[in-house]
Amino acid sequence: MYSPHVVAEMVDANEFWDLTRKHNVHGVPKTVINEGRHYLEGAVPEDHLVKAIQAVVGS
């Protein structure tokens, strides 16, 4: 919502097996950043997610 550069998609892992397999989703929630450039397992705090995004696109 906040940035025009960010798209956030909630994916039903049971319904999209191809995507689930592609990103090796064995546990949920799992967050995939920019088609697999970075992965986060579990429900992470906001600053943790920001650090992960920074690792992919820089600060």
Partner: protein, 136 residues
């Protein structure tokens, strides 16, 4: 038969009483009978400030969606179509997230910290987040 039990409808209606600006829910899918269509129709009936539109596969690209990622639920608020969307059914915990998203979007409410907002304002590259969840 209704998808949403009466007690859930009452809870959702209570949350929807906090809707400020009108919100349109858009379901992009292949059409035909579907539980998702029924769910959207039932939600639509719970608030005068909500509307519901169904779009076909041909319109997927207009919303920046791949055909492989349908069905998809989008929310359109005062500032256009939100970049937060649901791929597949918003079941289990995600149902609550959808309801809260509708209310937050209608109120223009952003719950992020100031530090995160500052970082997001500085972003120049596109970021695609996909959060995989299951209904249970």
């Amino acid at each position: 038969m209704a998808i949403l039990p009466t007690n859930v409808k009452q809870q959702v209606q209570e949350m929807f009483s906090e809707i400020d600006q009108p919100i349109k829910m858009i379901l992009v899918d292949e059409g035909g009978n579907s539980e998702l269509d029924q769910l959207m129709t039932e939600l639509d009936a719970l608030s005068d400030k909500l509307s519901y539109q169904r779009a076909g596969v041909a319109e997927a690209s207009r919303y920046g969606l791949d055909e492989e990622s349908l069905p998809s639920i989008l929310l359109e608020g005062p500032e256009g179509v939100s970049r937060a969307r649901f791929t597949g059914a918003p079941a289990g915990h995600e149902f609550g997230v959808l309801i809260q998203d509708i209310v937050d979007l209608s109120q223009g409410q952003i719950t992020l910290s100031d530090a995160t907002k500052r970082y997001l304002e500085s972003l120049t590259e596109d970021v695609h987040l996909q959060v995989f969840t299951t209904p249970t």
